[in-house]
Structure formats: C-alpha cells, structure tokens
C-alpha cells in the first residue's frame, strides 16, 4: 500500500518537473530566453565564461606546430597560443583555458552545442560553414592551401600524375571535398582512404596503405617533420585550394565574436607596430604613437567597449607575444616545420596579413 503511494508521489513529482522545466506553465524564464536579442545572448557568453572561471577552447587532437603537448605535458602550438591570448584578454591569465581536443568531425557539433566557447583548430573559412552551419569566423590566422605528400621513389612530379593512386584523407574536412573536385576536374581516378585523425593518417601513409596523403600544406610540413626518413618524402608543388584557417565562434553572440576577433587583430597589429612580449609593459605606460596607446589602454576606452579590462591587449600580447613571435616559435624557420612566412607575412613585408586599425 505504502509502496503504491510512494510510486504515485514520485510520478507526480516527475511530471510536475517536466511541465515546469518544459516551460509549459511559464513559471521560469526559460521560455523567454528563446526570444532574447543577440546582444543579451552575447553578453551572457562572456559572463558565462567569467563565471565559470576558464575559457573552453577547442583544439586539434594533435598536430605538430599547431597543437601538441610539450615536454612538461602542457598543450602548446600556434592554435593553442591563440586560446592563451584570448584567455589572457578575458581573465588577465593565459593559463585559464580548458582545452577540448576535437577531430575534424566532432569539432562543429562541439561548438554548436556550446561545449566550447571558441574553436581554434586550423579550420578553413568557407561560405557554407559561415552561412549554413551557423558559425562566425572571426578572421584568418593562417593563409594555407591544400597539398600532397608522397614518396620520392614514386617518381611523381605533379599531383596531376596521380591517376589510380590511393589517397589518405581526413574525413569531415574541406580537403576531402577539394580532393574530389581536383580529381574530377582533371578527369583522373583515385581511391580515397578515409581516416579520422592526422595521427592515424600518418600511420596509414607510412604503412603505405595509401600512395599520397593530402591535407593543408602547413599540416603536411608538420606531419613530415615527424618522419624518421623525412628526406625520402616530398611535398608536391601543386596547391589545389585556398584554405584560410582561423578561429570561429557560434553565430548570434556578436559581442563575444568581437572579443575573439579583436584579440586576433591585436596580435597582428602588435607585430606591425613593433609591440612584442618583452617591450609591451614599457609601451603600455604611454608612447608618442596614439594607435599604440589606444590599443594598450593608456588612451581611449577600447577595452571598456569590449566589456573587458583596459589592459586586455597588453595581457593578450604578454601571453605568447605578437603574431610574428607566435609564428616563429611554433611554425617558423627554426622549428622542425620550417615554414616560411610567405602569405602570412605582414602586408608591409610582402604578405597579405592585414588587420583593421585599433580605433
């Protein structure tokens, strides 16, 4: 008898909860939150991060130069450096980041569902991702293009000679689509060998499961740097696509997108203005250049406009240096990747890196 009452009471409680939580009675604000304006939703993203006490940043599962664990077991790399700079801009502390490792496939659901606040995982900015998937790309941090790597002994000089070859690709990437386009437009056949992560693709390529591996040229350089017999392999001269890589956030929280965008712009502008991690504190005290003063907070209210501390840019630059310093540390000539600045040089130095002014 008592048991029957107990079950009955439990059921009523559950149903009551469902009705209230589902917003059918309009007791809580949950039904209204669907109609809130983008401005409010965006503020809540920053607030949510500040309340949580850390930035949740989506990065690669492991790609030398871009996201890897250093000898102390901490995440480091070009993509990671951006996460650290953004955390520094928000909290003043670059270590307040929780890294979430994502594959090419699960990165978008993770961002869309709110599991991460920003995705910094060499992701190509494309029309459909920006428009249809509901994301906002906040800029380009690396201008890349898709290439091929193969063994020298194959005797292939150009990707157009790859008729009938097996090609390793990471699934869920733009490279998968470019590859199909490239072979179709050149009227040659291939066998795609789909692989989930860069590490697995590397293994499959080394086991000669496939003749060539294709991904972004920077990724090829990164992967090649880990080969024991790197000089037996060559990156083909063709670059078959435009791959502007950059961080992205969810659509609909413009204020948060602004914070993410201007943190990246601050790093790029810092290099142009000659601000680096060692002189930033000194320059922050005030200089003759009003542009630098506005950016570093000794003049104007840029930080306040973003809803951040006035030292936001100082902290971001102190985290890992300006764009050039980050590039040189993880990707540049003195690293195993040995990538040239090329397109990624500042616009004054023959590249196309150009950030809008801090005004």
């Amino acid at each position: 008898m008592f048991k029957g009452f107990l079950i009955g009471a439990l059921l009523v409680a559950v149903i009551g909860y469902v009705i209230v939580d589902g917003g059918y009675l309009d007791l809580k604000d949950s039904s209204k939150s669907a109609k809130v304006t983008t401005k409010v939703a965006a503020e809540s993203t920053l607030k949510k991060i500040q309340k949580r006490g850390n930035l949740q940043c989506g990065i690669n599962t492991g790609l030398p130069g871009f996201a890897y664990t250093d000898d102390k077991g901490n995440w480091a790399g070009f993509d990671v450096a951006y996460c650290r700079a953004l955390a520094a801009a928000v909290f003043g502390d670059p270590d307040k980041v929780k890294y979430v490792n994502l594959t090419g496939k699960n990165r978008f659901p993770a961002l869309a569902s709110g599991e991460i606040d920003v995705l910094s995982r060499n992701t190509t900015w494309t029309f459909s991702r920006d428009v249809k998937l509901g994301f906002t790309f906040i800029g380009v941090s690396y201008y890349d293009g898709q290439g091929f790597i193969g063994r020298k002994k194959l005797g292939v000089k150009s990707a157009k000679e790859l008729d009938g070859a097996s090609v390793c690709i990471q699934t869920g990437t733009t490279t998968e689509l470019n590859l199909a386009d490239f072979f179709r437009s050149n009227k040659i056949k291939y066998e795609p060998v789909p692989i989930e992560t860069n590490e697995e693709a590397r293994k499959a390529y080394l086991a000669e499961r496939c003749d060539v591996y294709t991904t972004d040229a920077s990724g090829l350089a990164a992967t090649k740097s880990t080969f024991a017999d790197a000089n037996q392999h060559m990156v083909f001269p063709e670059i078959i696509s435009k791959e502007p890589l950059g961080p992205l956030v969810r659509q609909g929280d413009d204020a948060w997108a602004d914070i993410a965008r201007w943190t990246l712009n601050a790093l790029i502008n810092a290099e142009e203005y000659g601000i680096n991690s060692s002189n930033v504190e000194k320059l922050a005290e005030g200089t003759k250049n009003p542009e630098i003063n506005r950016m570093l907070g000794s003049e104007g209210t840029l930080g306040q406009m973003l809803g951040l501390d006035k030292r936001w840019a100082v902290n971001a630059i102190k985290a890992g240096g300006n764009y050039g310093e980050i590039f040189d540390r993880y990707l540049g000539k003195n690293t195993p990747l040995g990538l040239a600045r090329g397109l990624n040089a500042s616009w004054g130095n023959g590249g196309i890196l150009y950030a809008p002014p801090m005004r």
């Binding site: 009955g8 869309a112 070859a165 066998e191 795609p192 789909p194």
Partner: protein, 395 residues
C-alpha cells in the same frame, strides 16, 4: 483496435478507486505514459528552440543536396556529384554487406567451435577453449584495430602476393578478377535456377518416399551433382558467357577486377571471430541441454554418431540456441558501427561525414537510429519466425 481495448477494460468504481488494485494499476500506467510523452515532447521542443536560436534549418530536404565527397567502397554507382541521400544508401549497403558476411562467418565458426569444444579430442577442445576465452575477453575495438594493423602490414602493392596472376594480396586488400556478363549469360543463369529447383524437388520427393516406405535416397549427393552438372554442360555449349576482367598492375595500384579493402576484411574477421566465440558457447549450452538419454536411445537404435548429432541432438538443441543466437546477430549488426575506427565507410562513418559537411546533426542521428532499429527488428522478426518453425510441435 480501440474497440477491442475498451471491451477488455473492466468497470471501475470511482469511490474506492485507489484501493482497487486494477484501477490503481491503470492510473499508474497512464501516468507513466504521460511521463514518457512529456519527456519526449520536452526534448523535441528544446531541440527545435535551440536550432531556431542558432539559426539552423531543420528537415530532411538536405538529403537531396550534392555530396561533393567520394566513397571508396560502393555497391551502387556513386560519385561526388551524387546526393547526400544516395551516400547514405551506399553506407547502409556497406553496413548490410559487412553484417551479412559477419553473421554467416560467425555462425559457421560458432557452430564448429561449439561442437569441437565438446569433442573427446583433448587438443581440439583445448584449442577452442583458448580461442573462446581470448576473443571473448578482449574488447572488440582492439580486435578490429589488431586485424587492420595486421592486414596493412602485409606486403606492399609492388611486392603483392600473387596467385596465378589472377589474385593479388597486399596491404591494400585482395584484388580479384571480376566477371563481365555477356548476353548469353542469361541461359547460364536459367540453367542454374533449373538445377536448383530440380534439386529441391528431388529432396521433397525423397523425404516423402522415406516417410512412406522408409527407404532412404542419397538426395544430397545426387542433388549437388545436378546443380553442378547442368550449368557446366550449358557453359560448355555457350560461347564465353562470362569474360573475366583481370587485375593489371599500374603505376600506383592494380587496375581492373575488384578490390576487397583491408578495412572490410579486418572488420569482417574481427566481427566473425568475436561473435563466433559467443555463439560457440550458446551452441555448447544448447547441445548440453539435450539429455544424454536421447543420445543413448539413438545409439541403441543403431544410429551412427554423426547421425545422432545431425538428426537427434542438433534439432533439439536448436530450440535452446535460437533465441540467444538472435541477440548475437543483433549485436554483430550494431557492433559493425565500430567500422569508423579503421575508416570502413559504413552508415555511421558516411553519416558522420554528411553531418559534418551539412550541419544537420539531429536529422542524421535520427536516420542512424531508425535504420539500426529497422535492421534489428527485421533480423529479429526473421529469427522469431524461424524459432516458431523450430519450436517443439506438440501433438
């Protein structure tokens, strides 16, 4: 339907409703139903609200959009210009292919292992014990990766293991000649169908005669001879009904013939040996459930031990074997989704790519669930039918 249900309901007195066991049961069931409905409504409303907030469209219209990616193993025509929907069908067929192959192989392995484990041969039974315990207790995912690693460390393409210049075995799979059917092949196909129907007719006739007169007829060997002999004769009469497309080595790969990828082979081996170990235990339990009295009675009737197994023990053991065997078949089908670990392009793998390229996560997940549910329900409907057929017929 509701009329029938209403007729089943008894009148309930409202006065002492709560103290009536029947009425209380009815109320509780109704409340549970309400709960489940409420829960489902909540999550769907929540999902739709969130999708709208994120500015994402929903619906299945995207399935008609162009896929733009390629698939390496396709049982039907597919190119990067085909639609997402067609890509899903390709994935579904790949899932069905590996599941069917797996079910057949697992059944054969399971039955052999189950019977051998009970054999009096000490070595055979111990070997099977080791096989069962090892495969049953190592996670399936690891076994799949083990088989894949083994197959991809086979000789490279240029050092392929060559069988008579027809079959090539290397770390990119097994390359075999593929048949090209000429129009005269129709006659060959007809002759095969004719042979098989003749064989079925013969078996039915032999069984009837045995019931009537007790005389046996070697229907199996005669039937097999018919099935093989008739098409062979027709084949000789026709001029090349089938031409073989043999593999030719090219710069990178072989061209011509067809290729079974190491991904398919690895997944197939892993699923078959893993599920086979479970089936062998089910078979063993089924055989042991038949009382020794049956075997002894059969022996005293003068049946040979192979006849005892085939005619007395196995048919009775089947009644115990079939229900758990059904669950193993269902498990195998669902486990085939682990294909993604090695890049076999099954329904989950291709669905994942579509999900990522189109952004329609909820729809793709819904399709996955509906498809696996239908596959499972289909398998279990078939097995239930078979079970009913094999069940003890009481006279």
């Amino acid at each position: 339907m509701f009329g029938k249900l209403a007729a089943k309901l008894k009148p309930i007195s409202l006065r002492n409703f709560w103290f009536d066991k029947y009425g209380r049961g009815l109320l509780l069931q109704f409340l549970v139903l309400l709960c489940v409905a409420g829960f489902l409504a909540t999550i769907s409303i929540n999902a739709i609200t969130n999708l709208q907030r994120a500015g994402l469209s929903s619906g299945f219209g995207f399935l008609a959009d162009q896929a733009f990616f390629d698939i390496n193993q396709r049982l039907i025509e597919f190119s990067s210009q085909s639609s997402f929907g067609r890509a899903l069908v390709v994935g579904l067929l790949n899932t069905i292919l590996v599941s069917s192959l797996g079910i057949i192989a697992a059944t054969v392995i399971g039955f052999m292992a189950g019977i051998l484990r009970l054999s009096n041969n000490w070595i055979a039974s111990k070997i099977i014990t080791v096989y069962v315990e090892v495969t049953r207790n190592v996670p399936l995912l690891l076994q799949i990766i083990f088989w894949w690693a083994t197959l991809t460390s086979l000789p490279k393409v240029r050092e392929s293991i060559n069988f008579y210049n027809l079959f090539y075995f290397n770390n990119r799979g097994l390359r075999a000649p593929s048949p090209i059917f000429e129009t005269s092949f129709l006659w060959l196909a007809l002759s095969i169908i004719f042979g098989i129907s003749l064989c079925i007719f013969l078996v039915v006739w032999a069984r009837r005669r045995q019931h009537r007169s007790g005389k046996t007829f070697p229907s199996v060997s005669v039937g097999l001879t018919l099935v093989i002999l008739i098409p062979t004769m027709v084949f000789q009469l026709l001029e090349q009904p089938v031409v073989w497309d043999t593999p030719q080595a090219t710069r990178f790969n072989f061209r011509g013939g067809f290729n079974i990828t190491p991904e398919l082979l690895a997944l197939w081996f892993a699923l078959a040996t893993y599920t086979g170990a479970f089936i062998s235990e089910i078979v063993r339990a089924g055989i042991l459930s038949v009382s020794t009295g049956q075997t002894e009675a059969a022996k005293s009737l003068g049946l040979r031990s192979s006849q005892i197994m085939r005619l007395i023990v196995i048919p009775q053991a089947f009644r115990v074997i079939i229900p758990p065997l059904t669950s193993q078949y269902l498990n195998l089908t669902k486990n085939s989704s682990l294909a993604i670990a090695i890049g076999y392009q099954d329904l989950v793998s291709i669905g994942g790519t579509i999900l990522n390229q189109s952004g329609h996560a909820l729809e793709v997940v819904a399709i996955w669930m509906v498809v696996y549910l239908s596959l499972s329900l289909g398998t279990s409907a078939f097995m239930n039918w078979y079970n009913k057929k094999m069940a003890l017929v009481e006279r």
